[in-house]
């Protein structure tokens, strides 16, 4: 119960992350770098500071508070990320909440206590806890301990994963999972690397392992206009999923939410060709994908 995990949010009353009323725990750190990522704060596996320039009122309390002289006057380049240790002192000092700490470490016991607060609502709705991220499996020992403890406490645990994990480390977790949301982005290895910066061999083979074991898995796919909604990719996904003996695929619509968060985190914008364009086409892209995938024999939900 003393294992430490790094999370960046705990969202109660999540109703789209599995059955019933759920609490979704967002774990920090991700091995992929999807070009459309909506949760840039989820990427780095360490505590960091986000600066929201538009909230800054120029009070200046942050400068005084920083023990490492990592803050500069200019709002355009407030944070020297080389010097910043992510200690969070500045965020505590900032009255305008322009500086915010992203990421906090919790023990299994603490997290369990926190998610247990909605126990009555899980019971009344058939809900539970969902581990999401980031990529929860990056913190495998932690989530294994947590899932075991939560299951032991009578909660059901779901997992949302990109599938990029080592099967042998993952296998012991399986017994404690009531639901796995497994995200597929692209089947072709080159396309996958281009879109996410990562290899997809483990992702595909882990999917096979899960399917073989009859794990409670729901495959999902974010539909990104101009990125992975091509006819080829849709066909490949359909073939892959059907090949596993699964019938259902859940599609996720693209939302351009990540931009301002990216700026706040001082991250270079990933090479998304045109977010505006993508947003405008999100609906059409999604309905196109739904239609095509249904033609290909899948049960598609959105």
């Amino acid at each position: 119960m003393q294992q430490q995990g790094l999370i960046f949010d705990v969202q109660r009353f999540s109703v789209h992350d599995g059955p019933g009323i759920r609490t979704t725990v967002f774990l920090k750190g991700c091995p992929l770098r999807c070009r459309w990522c909506q949760n840039p704060e989820s990427l780095r596996p360490r505590q960091e500071i986000a600066f929201f320039a538009e909230r800054c009122r120029g009070h200046g309390d942050c400068f005084a508070a920083c023990p490492h002289a990592a803050l500069r006057r200019s709002p355009a380049a407030r944070l020297d990320r080389e010097r910043c240790t992510g200690c969070g002192d500045c965020a505590g000092a900032c009255a305008a909440a322009a500086l915010r700490r992203v990421g906090r470490s919790v023990t299994v016991a603490e997290l369990l206590a926190e998610v247990s607060r909605d126990r009555s609502f899980y019971a009344s709705s058939g809900g539970g806890v969902t581990l999401s991220g980031g990529e929860p499996t990056l913190q495998m020992p932690f989530i294994r301990a947590f899932a075991a403890a939560a299951t032991g406490a009578g909660l059901t645990v779901g997992l949302q994963t990109c599938g990029a994990f080592s099967w042998s480390a993952f296998a012991p977790l399986l017994a404690d999972l009531a639901l796995i949301h497994y995200d597929l982005k692209a089947i072709d290895g080159r396309l996958h690397r281009e879109l996410t910066g990562a290899d997809n061999r483990a992702i595909l083979s882990n999917a096979r392992e899960l399917a073989e074991r009859g794990a409670p898995v729901l495959f999902r796919m974010p539909v990104i206009p101009g990125a992975n909604d091509t006819a080829d990719n849709l066909e490949a996904v359909a073939r892959f999923v059907l090949g596993l003996g699964a019938r259902r695929l859940h599609l996720l619509r693209y939302h351009a939410l990540g931009e301002s968060k990216l700026a706040a985190l001082g991250q270079p914008r990933p090479p998304m060709p045109d977010d505006g364009l993508a947003s405008r086409h999100a609906e059409a892209s999604l309905s196109g994908a739904v239609r095509r995938l249904r033609e290909l024999g899948l049960e598609v939900s959105t």
Partner: protein, 795 residues
């Protein structure tokens, strides 16, 4: 259950909505005429009052409107509000020249009524209305002046007590003839010429009054039937006549007779005591035996019963309260508080849900009306179908029913002295106040207290910033406090000071109500009075007491939490700095204000912040316990605010929770709009974990959900799970709004575009159009903030 609102009921609904609400002078004129010309001043007051009621009921206009199956009118107009000049009516008449033109809740007057009120009513009562009789003259004048623009407290009981659940079960069992027999037996045991005898005789007069009232309608119906050309309507009118000839004198035999008997009594009770919160109670239980019998005999089916229930509900919509603008600030939304309660447990603890319960739930959803105020009781044994139907209605935007948790409320009613059976048979009164049905006279809306004002005084040594003089207790300077407990002690002293004055005034009002406003008909229909030979206004009912509402508790608690956090824990500011920033309404102290606002607040399932609300609740309830009501019974705390959280907010400066001067407080025990940041389950946990056992007079909790919840396929299931989960956590009450802010904004900008748009205000429903601009804004804000952040996230 497939029942639908019939064309007849739809037409009645249309007629009532189309009718312009009137200020009705009838009651005031008849009562005045009686006391001026007929009353025998040597007769005991209670008998005069019974005679006055009789005179009123015998002489008021008798209308039977097209299509009606149940008859009886509260006022001479289709929709109207009566005037109670012997109570607060004189004060209401401050608007005599503004009723028609005022922008919020305009009321029309019939030609000549303004003159008659001015010439006949005012001169007689101006020296005799209740407040004038309660206090010596100078004190009375000061009191009335203060109460029209109250700062510390508003004593509603100055306008009479009312607020009870009549023993309609008794009326259905005995009829007035049965009560007559009962009284006759009691008369044998009292001394001739005694007060007890006068009381019992007055009950006999009240019986007569009610019987004559019914007879008037029987005559009218027969007369109309004679002239009616449509044979089916003629038949209906004949049946109305037959019904009114039998009830309420005889115990009703049919479903229709039962509803008619209750309706006539309901009207008479409103006219006798005060048109506020005469609450019919558990109609699904009261009517169940008759319903069953009739259905079994093949004389009634669900659809026919549903139509009659619709007729009944609409009758209760024909009355509106007549307030002046200043009084409306505290009681906005044209609200009469006639609560109908369904579901829950029976007297033995078994589930009481029946077919009629379900008919009522259908009615709430299909015929969304301002009144009655529908409440649904829930307990762990409530059937799934019942829960699901309610959740579906609420998810689809019906704002009724409000929900009550038997597991919390039954022990609460017990803790006030009720037997277990009586407690299980509780119903709610007015807004949210739980009482044992049919035998409780608990003045649940006796007074409202401005708690944040007491905090403001504590911050500034007993004197409001910019005030001429000290109005609070002379407490020591805030700067001397070394811990939050010291600040709370100053608050306690201010509150104690205010409550002492309140209870002194209230005591005088209680005595005046007993002396000058006895209510024999009410007493007949309240268990205990006949047996005790004593009027309810003098403590004759089985259970007595009085409820005092703490308004603004959440703002006070959040302010204390912010002070604790910022001053005593983080040491980022001093008390003097915060007090001075409040004095200046945070001018030049934006940063401090932002820090105060960012402090932990109630509504996020944060144990410390929620605990502070509990601390303030308990403080208030404990201070009340020091005294008892003149009628007997304790003073208990309630935590609902009607619209007083706005009106009281106007007279209080900035507070340490960051609320600006004059802004509204939060409603009841709901978090401040925008304070809840962790979604509905966290807010519900915060509410459920409060020390609700001290909220003996009830509390209101608003749950605002964003429209997407209702729009999704599973919305009703989620909502049902939120309700069940919250009650499993120990929640007490819940009223749900699933409204689209866009629609509300449109309704605000274009009054009249959504005439039927009902919203839940504070323990009751109101048409959005009937609210003040400020209240409209509050509802919109609440709805906006109620949006849980459920953006779908994906990797």
């Amino acid at each position: 259950m497939t029942v639908t609102v019939s064309d007849r009921v739809r037409a009645l609904d249309r007629d009532i909505r189309a009718a312009a609400p009137h200020l009705c002078a009838e009651r005031a004129l008849l009562v005045t005429r009686y006391f001026k010309t007929r009353a025998d001043p040597h007769q005991p007051t209670v008998m005069q009052k019974a005679e006055a009621l009789r005179f009123l009921l015998a002489n008021k206009a008798v209308h039977i409107y097209p299509g009606e199956l149940l008859v009886g009118c509260f006022t001479a107009h289709r929709v109207g509000g009566g005037l109670y000049p012997e109570l607060h009516g004189v004060a209401v008449l401050e608007d005599l020249f503004a009723f028609e033109t005022r922008p919020v809740n305009p009321l029309r007057l019939a030609p000549g009524d303004r003159y008659r009120l001015l010439a006949e009513v005012l001169p007689y009562w101006v020296t005799r209305f209740l407040a004038m009789r309660a206090f010596p003259l100078r004190r009375a004048l000061a009191f009335v002046k203060d109460q029209l623009a109250p700062r510390f407290y508003l004593i509603n009981e100055t306008g009479g007590v009312s607020h009870f659940v009549p023993d309609y079960a008794g009326l259905l069992r005995h009829g007035t003839s049965g009560y007559r027999a009962m009284v006759a037996r009691e008369l044998a045991s009292v001394a001739p010429g005694s007060a007890e005898e006068s009381f019992l005789r007055s009950v006999l007069i009240a019986c007569q009054a009610l019987e004559e009232f019914a007879a008037g309608y029987a005559r009218k119906a027969a007369e109309l039937a004679g002239a009616e050309t449509d044979p089916s309507r003629r038949e209906e009118l004949r049946e109305i006549a037959a019904t009114c000839r039998r009830v309420p004198a005889q115990p009703p035999e049919t479903f229709r007779e039962a509803l008619q008997a209750i309706l006539l009594a309901q009207i008479a009770l409103n006219l006798e005591s005060l048109d506020n919160a005469v609450s019919p109670g558990r109609l699904d239980q009261l009517l169940w035996p008759t319903y069953q019998r009739e259905v079994a005999a093949g004389r009634l089916d669900a659809q026919a019963a549903f139509e009659l229930l619709g007729c009944f509900a609409l009758k209760l919509c024909e009355i509106v309260p007549a307030f002046s603008r200043r009084i409306t600030r505290f009681h906005g939304g044209l609200f009469n508080g006639q609560v109908v309660v369904v579901g829950g447990q029976d007297r033995d603890g078994a589930d009481a849900t029946n077919e009629l319960t379900m008919l009522f739930v259908e009615l709430m959803d299909q015929l969304r009306t301002r009144q009655p105020n529908y409440h649904a009781r829930l307990h762990p044994g409530s059937p799934r179908s019942y829960r699901a139907r309610i959740a579906a209605a609420l998810a689809a935007g019906a704002v009724s029913p409000a929900l009550y948790n038997d597991d919390v409320i039954v022990p609460l009613v017990r803790s006030r002295g009720a037997s277990l059976e009586d407690a299980r048979d509780y119903a709610t009164v007015g807004c949210v106040e739980p009482v044992a049905s049919g035998n409780s006279f608990l003045s649940t809306d006796a007074a409202l207290v401005n708690v944040p004002l007491c905090l403001e005084l504590a911050l500034h040594g007993g004197r409001q910033p910019r005030a001429w003089q000290r109005t609070g207790a002379a407490t020591t300077a805030i700067a001397g406090c070394a811990a939050i407990a010291d600040v709370i002690e100053l608050l306690r002293q201010q509150l104690d000071f205010a409550l002492h004055r309140l209870l002194d005034d209230l005591g005088a009002i209680e005595r005046a109500n007993g002396r000058w406003h006895p209510t024999p008909l009410t007493s007949m229909l309240l268990g205990g009075c006949i047996a005790n030979h004593r009027d309810a206004s003098s403590g004759g009912a089985t259970y007595n007491g009085s409820g005092i509402q703490a308004v603004g508790v959440v703002d006070v608690a959040d302010s204390l939490s912010a002070l604790d956090h910022l001053v005593f824990r983080e040491c980022r500011a001093t008390l003097a700095e915060v007090a001075s920033a409040c004095r200046n309404n945070f001018a030049g102290a934006e940063k401090l204000r932002a820090r105060l606002r960012a402090a932990p607040r109630y509504g996020n399932d944060d144990a410390a912040a929620d605990g502070m609300v509990g601390r303030v609740m308990t403080l208030f309830a404990d201070l009340l316990r020091a005294r008892t009501s003149w009628r007997g019974g304790e003073y208990v705390a309630g935590f609902y605010s009607v619209t007083a959280h706005q009106a009281f907010g106007e007279v209080v400066g900035a507070l340490p929770n960051g609320r600006g001067a004059g802004e509204p407080f939060s409603s009841g025990l709901s978090p401040q709009s925008g304070a809840e940041r962790r979604g509905p389950t966290a807010t519900l946990c915060s509410m459920a974990h409060l020390p609700l056992a001290v909220a003996k007079n009830g509390a209101n909790f608003n749950l605002e959900l964003a429209p997407w919840v209702g729009a999704e396929e599973q919305g009703a299931a989620w909502l049902g799970a939120l309700i069940d989960g919250s009650f499993a956590e120990g929640g007490m009450q819940l009223q749900v709004n699933v409204l689209d802010p866009a629609v509300l904004i449109e309704a605000r900008d274009h009054p009249g575009r959504y005439p039927g748009l009902l919203v839940r205000v504070s323990g009751y429903s109101a048409y959005f159009d009937d609210l003040s601009p400020k209240m409209k804004q509050e509802i919109i804000d609440r709805t906006m903030y109620g949006r849980p952040n459920a953006l779908s996230r994906h990797s």
